[in-house]
């Protein structure tokens, strides 16, 4: 892994077909950072789950809007931060929880994966024009 501090961000249309582009962007950034394959796969999954939640939940009530979400990846002093910005329905962090993992049923795993992979999953106050601002953090 490189020791250089690094920051990159990219905007994506909020739609499910953008998820592949989000993964491609992340893989390219992690490639530049020389992050090893296992960790890269995990980080890509966590990021893709967060982006999926924006498409699936924050824009549940406005599926046809042509809005963007922004993904920002930064690595500073070996702390990886992945920030998400969107203008969807405000998320109530208290309501964001995964299902009981032993209660096997479809759904509710995305948040669990994010929490398993990352050190912290936090909603911060979105600064205008953004409504939601999610930050995933991991020490590398």
């Amino acid at each position: 892994m490189t020791d250089l501090n690094h920051i990159e961000k990219k905007a994506f249309l909020v739609k499910s077909s953008s998820l592949k582009d989000v993964r491609t962007f992340c893989r390219e950034v992690f490639e530049k950072l020389n992050i090893e394959q296992n960790l890269k796969d995990e980080l890509v999954l966590a990021i893709a789950e967060a982006a999926q939640n924006i498409v699936k939940h924050a824009y549940k009530d406005k599926p046809d809007v042509n809005e963007i979400m922004v993904v920002e990846i930064s690595l500073v002093n070996k702390e990886m931060k992945i920030a998400f910005y969107d203008m969807g329905t405000p998320v109530d962090p208290k309501k964001v929880k995964h299902r009981e993992i032993d209660n096997v049923k479809p759904g509710g795993l995305g948040t669990f994966f994010m929490q398993e992979i990352m050190d912290a999953v936090e909603f911060k106050e979105g600064k205008k024009p953004w409504i939601n601002h999610l930050v995933l953090t991991k020490q590398l």
Partner: protein
Amino acid sequence: MTYKITEEDNISTIFLDGEIDMDKTEEVKEVIFPIIDSGKDVALNLSNVQYMDSSGISVLIESHQKALEKGTKVIIKDVSKSVLKVIMMAKLEQILNLE
């Protein structure tokens, strides 16, 4: 995502290929569910699926549960290392029929 289906006895083997995310799950369900509904056992070959997220895992769970309801079974075969890791993260390796 692409797929191929082969038939042998009462087992349909579905070879899935590509990355399975929220954008592809309906397509995957449209391939798998009618076969389960027809009463056949299904083998899902995932050797060429290099990425699967929680939406894809949900399809595996739904397929497994649907097969149980129908009295058939879904076997998951030749799982790629990256997908197996996600299945294990979801603690499903003892629930799903992995071969």
